[in-house]
């Protein structure tokens, strides 16, 4: 139902859609995201349940389709309708932040930045959330080794890890 609304009010914004096991998914371009978010907020999708990303390194980095999908999940508390919005973004490209509209976005965006290295333009405090500040790489990228590469993941670390040497004792 919401998808028809979006189609009517933002014609052409939805580049792709599918419905798998009852989960409505739409794909929009980065440029249309903020307009879409305004619309969703007006339509009652006020609970931003989750922000995450999926890495598709093999996907061709042609125009419009990037390496990552940033995935947003919304819930409409009145109608209990859920909507998944996916935004393709290339490696090194930035995303607009949703922190102005949703306070939830703050930490979720920090987490996506931490684990995928996608920067959010305009985020007030875009720092790593789960790993430490001088952690090298982004752990959930497919090309990040499962064991962290270096056994202590501390290459290039400064304080408080004693110049890369692991403290003993």
């Amino acid at each position: 139902m919401i998808i028809e609304h979006i189609d009517a009010q933002l014609p052409g914004a939805i580049t792709d859609r599918h419905d798998f096991r009852g989960d409505q998914t739409i794909v929009v371009a980065k440029g249309n995201l903020l307009a879409l978010v305004d619309l969703l907020h007006r339509e009652g999708f006020q609970l931003l349940v989750d922000i995450t990303a999926v890495d598709w390194p093999e996907r061709p980095g042609t125009q419009g389709v990037g390496r990552f999908d940033v995935v947003y999940h919304w819930l409409n508390l009145a109608s209990q309708e859920r909507l998944r919005v996916k935004v393709p973004v290339a490696d090194g490209e930035t995303m607009p932040t949703l922190t102005g509209r949703f306070k939830t976005a703050d930490w979720f965006e920090r987490e996506v930045f931490d684990l995928f290295g996608i920067r959010f333009e305009g985020h007030p405090n875009l720092k790593r959330l789960l790993t430490w500040d001088d952690f090298q790489g982004h752990a959930l990228r497919k090309d990040f080794p499962l064991d962290g590469g270096d056994p202590f993941c501390m290459e290039g670390c400064t304080a408080p890890y004693n110049n890369g040497e692991r403290a003993r004792g």
Partner: protein, 401 residues
């Protein structure tokens, strides 16, 4: 956080402000998380939460584990009520597969989930009371929690890290002595919850320490991504068991307690009432529990029984195929949410049809709640921070994953 960012500024050095490290290892933090408090006297000027001390990379590990192998990792998310995470994850994979599990498995899942909810709320309420200084209620409640864990041990063989569910049902049926013991627990727990209420609800010290602390408006709560008891305490009657029923919750008769102000006191009241409602649900489950299979009869999804594996060729082949090549997954993506003790526990699974999930995302309920911590405690006294943190029920295992 590097050392620079917590270095003392000129003003702080002048003695106006004091930096206090709350955690990483502190009885209130339920795991390891750290909050850097900037104080002026006893008043909190800034609170900077820092997390990741318990980050194990569950989502990364999930990408190299089969769907079945991920279950033990879900135990360690919210380790106070691990069975609910097992149930939530199994429901997600079953949604991806598009299968329905047997009736008895659904009922037992509801039964153990509600037991786990009680155990989780006991930890939250009991420990919150201890943190604030009321020790006695904790003792009465923890006796009941012990019983819940004994029941889990009986059902799953493990007290804390249960791994009770399998894709398509349960690892095994509950033993015959489970139901009578649960009946006894229902009576005793009801009495213990009443006892706890007598000790706390009208206790003026408890009231003064919790009333008005951490209050939040329903709009702010929704905007901050609150779910679960904290959202309901703020006055939003959102409970996935009622709103988007799963596992047959629509057939049970129970109420959703709702608060008005969202403060620590309301969160406490909501949790107390939810324990009573969970007891109601458990009673109904026990009444309607019928004998039957507890796992789907589809050997492409669930392992065949051991005696068949040892005696029949075809079962042995199924066993081998399932262990070595995994379940034949459809290509697609799903998001499945269940109402865990802390709120909406979601699993977003992207499948490329392989043995392992291409991407598995755990949506922890307490991360958005905890992200509003600074707003909640700004201007409060340092002792209130303890009360607010306890009432949020931040479990580092699911916060950091």
């Amino acid at each position: 956080m590097t050392m620079d960012s917590i270095a003392l500024s000129r003003q702080q050095l002048d003695g106006d402000h004091m930096i206090v490290n709350f955690g990483p290892s502190h009885p209130t933090t339920h795991g390891t998380l750290r909050i850097v408090l900037e104080l002026e006297g006893e008043t909190i000027i800034r609170a900077t939460p820092e997390m990741g001390y318990l980050h194990r990379g569950v989502e990364k590990l999930g990408e190299s584990l089969s769907y079945q192998q991920f279950i033990p990792l879900t135990d360690r998310l919210n380790y106070c009520s691990s069975i609910m995470n097992n149930v939530g994850y199994a429901c997600a994979v079953e949604k991806l597969l598009g299968i329905e599990i047997p009736k008895r498995a659904q009922q037992i899942r509801v039964l153990v989930s509600e037991l786990a909810r009680i155990a989780d709320h006991i930890v939250c309420v009991g420990v919150n009371a201890v943190d604030i200084g009321a020790f006695t209620a904790f003792l009465y409640l923890f006796k009941q929690r012990e019983t819940v864990y004994d029941l889990f041990e009986m059902a799953a063989g493990q007290r804390l890290h249960t791994s009770f569910t399998r894709i398509g049902g349960l690892f095994r049926d509950i033993p015959p002595e489970f139901a009578p013991l649960t009946e006894r627990f229902l009576v005793e727990c009801e009495a213990a919850v009443d006892e706890c209420e007598r000790l706390l609800t009208h206790n003026p010290i408890w009231y003064d320490r919790t009333k008005g602390i951490g209050a939040i408006s329903p709009e702010d709560a929704v905007n901050s991504g609150y779910t679960g008891p904290c959202l309901r305490a703020a006055g939003v009657p959102q409970d996935l068991r009622k709103a988007q029923p799963y596992l047959g919750y629509e057939t049970y008769d129970f109420d959703i307690p709702v608060g008005t102000t969202g403060d620590v006191f309301d969160r406490y009241l909501v949790r107390i009432e939810e324990m009573r409602q969970s007891l109601r649900i458990i009673r109904q489950v026990l009444d309607r529990l019928e004998p039957g299979p507890v796992i789907v009869d589809d050997y492409k999804v669930a392992l065949p029984p051991k005696e068949k594996v040892y005696t029949r060729m075809e079962s042995l082949i199924h066993h081998f195929k399932l262990i070595m090549h995994g379940i034949d997954m459809p290509v697609g993506e799903i998001y499945s949410a269940t109402e865990a003790a802390n709120g909406e526990l979601g699993f977003y699974i992207v499948s490329d049809g392989g043995k392992n999930p291409y991407r598995i995302r755990v949506r922890p309920p307490c991360l958005p709640i905890f992200s509003s911590f600074e707003e909640q405690v700004k201007g409060c006294l340092i002792a209130d921070a303890v009360a607010v943190l306890g009432a949020m029920n931040v479990i580092a295992g699911e916060l950091d994953r």
